[in-house]
């Protein structure tokens, strides 16, 4: 870790780690979204509380000796065993290089990780993983110790990770409101937002593309009454997805993953209909103000007198970059981490399969006869 935080100077640019993590701890320190914050250094025993200034000194390179380093499972266990760790957000910044001292442990990596984060299974906490490579100066200790037990790097790029662990809605909030400049490599496990504000948009619209079209549809008793028997009914819905991680707020991602279900009927999300609302639209049509996104649904069949339409974002499985960033031999430093896939398999196994939905919203429908 020490290699990520060289003591710089006017002529030496800060490493990626120093830029990203410096910004993250500063935002954590000053953000109004956080009620209370404590900082710890994990050296070789239980996490040691330090004041913010000391942590900042570490990030900018005021470290005299390299920490001995804790084995990854012991470190995670120590963090999650702290009082109230399961009610708060824990942010873990590490290279996540796990080379067990006992050779036999190598066969059990996912299980060892899963055991070390047992509260994640028991309390169904969420884990968000962010990965980035950063220039590294100094002694690098690979997990695989042959042929070299350590190497000296001079600016080669190696990965480090930020894990955010805690209750699902809090992890979502921390990610969206505090870790705003997160790196592109992201993986989320067990993330759930609170139920987003969601409403079918029928009236007080000026944009003809947002207005309902096709068969009869109107709002009644907190639901919709509609008649798709002659023409399919198309209507727009507004939804506030501000709590989702930035990558998941992208229309392309949502269009690919959102699921519409209508038992006793047929409903679908219209292609290319998910989009972000612009400020102009929101000020021109105040009815849109509470929402970040609009999307258009089509109900083409409704067989029962009443039915419930549900719109869900199923949790994506482990993203593809994880495999690309994993290696079985890290003795030659590269932008890959030893056993990252196995470590994250341990995290993934803490949750049921398939992963629970990130959110689900429901809309009661009634047939207009």
């Amino acid at each position: 870790m020490k290699g990520f935080v060289p003591r710089g100077g006017a002529s030496k640019p800060a490493t990626e780690f120093q830029q990203r993590i410096g910004a993250l701890i500063t935002e954590t320190q000053v953000s109004g979204a956080i009620a209370d914050r404590k900082y710890y250094l994990c050296e070789n025993a239980a996490p040691r509380a330090v004041p913010f200034q000391q942590l900042r000194d570490v990030v900018q390179g005021e470290v005299n000796q390299a920490a001995l380093g804790t084995e990854l499972p012991q470190m995670l266990e120590g963090i999650l065993n702290m009082p109230q760790a399961t009610q708060q957000v824990s942010v873990v910044i590490s290279d996540f290089i796990y080379g067990p001292a006992r050779k036999s442990d190598f066969s059990q990596l996912p299980n060892l990780i899963r055991t070390s984060i047992a509260p994640v299974s028991q309390k169904q906490l969420a884990v968000a993983v962010f990965g980035e490579t950063s220039r590294f100066y100094g002694t690098y200790h690979p997990a695989v110790k042959t042929p070299a037990t350590k190497r000296t790097l001079d600016g080669e790029k190696v990965p480090y990770y930020v894990w955010v662990i805690g209750p699902p809605a809090l992890v979502a909030r921390y990610t969206a409101e505090v870790f705003k400049n997160a790196p592109a490599q992201q993986a989320f496990f067990g993330l759930k937002t609170s139920t987003p504000v969601f409403v079918p948009l029928l009236t007080k619209l000026t944009d003809p593309k947002l207005k309902p079209s096709g068969g009869t549809v109107y709002a009644e008793n907190n639901g919709l009454t509609l008649n798709p028997s002659d023409d399919p009914v198309d209507f727009s819905v507004g939804i506030n997805l501000g709590e989702l991680p930035a990558a998941w707020q992208k229309p392309a991602f949502l269009a690919q993953h959102m699921q519409v279900r209508l038992p006793n009927g047929q409903a679908a999300l219209l292609p290319n209909s998910v989009r972000l609302l612009t400020d102009d639209e929101q000020s021109g049509q105040p009815v849109l103000a509470p929402y970040t996104h609009v999307m258009r649904l089509r109900v083409s069949k409704l067989a029962a007198p009443t039915a419930t339409l549900s719109l869900a974002l199923p949790a994506p499985e482990t993203p593809e970059w994880v495999a690309a960033w994993s290696t079985t031999n890290d003795n030659t430093p590269a932008p890959r981490t030893f056993g990252l896939d196995q470590i994250l398999t341990g995290v993934r196994q803490s949750y049921p399969s398939p992963l629970p939905a990130v959110f689900t919203v429901q809309l009661p429908l009634k047939n207009d006869k």
Binding site: L202, T203, K204, K211, P212, G215, T216, V217, Y218, A219, E220, T225, N227, F235, D368
Partner: protein, 136 residues
């Protein structure tokens, strides 16, 4: 009565347009009964004024069928106006459905006026045979 007005108006409007508008919920919960009651009240007031004010309490000589038809036209006109202004003031959007609602309420207002005339004309002093003799 709300169900009655809703059935009455939506059945009559569906003769012109079966497609219901996006703000039909508003018609169903508020507008049909509000406009329905107001139209009923206006028709009744005009009937009372025609038979008992101008043709009983006062002797104005306005008992002819022409006068009655003009008052009926006034009721029908007020029916159209009520459907429009009350709907708009309660947030209904301009739509072809609202247009047909105005047309239908013109007919409904005329119908109420005719009905009340038939029921109430026989106690009028000077106009008990306007617009026709009987049936009551």
């Amino acid at each position: 009565m709300q169900t009655f007005f809703t059935s009455l108006y939506s059945a009559l409007i569906s003769i012109f347009q079966s497609q219901r508008p996006a703000d039909f919920g508003l018609y169903k919960t508020d507008l049909f009964s509000l406009v329905g009651w107001s139209t009923l009240g206006v028709a009744l007031l005009l009937v009372l004024a025609f038979y008992y004010l101008f043709n009983s309490a006062l002797r104005t000589g306005m008992f002819r069928t022409t006068h009655w038809v003009l008052t009926l036209a006034l009721a029908a006109g007020l029916g159209t106006l009520l459907a429009n202004t009350l709907s708009k003031s309660h947030g209904a959007e301009g739509s072809s459905y609202l247009g047909y609602f105005m047309v239908v309420n013109l007919l409904v207002a005329a119908l109420w006026f005719l009905l009340f005339s038939v029921l109430l004309k026989r106690w009028s002093t000077y106009a008990r045979t306007t617009p026709f003799v009987g049936p009551l």
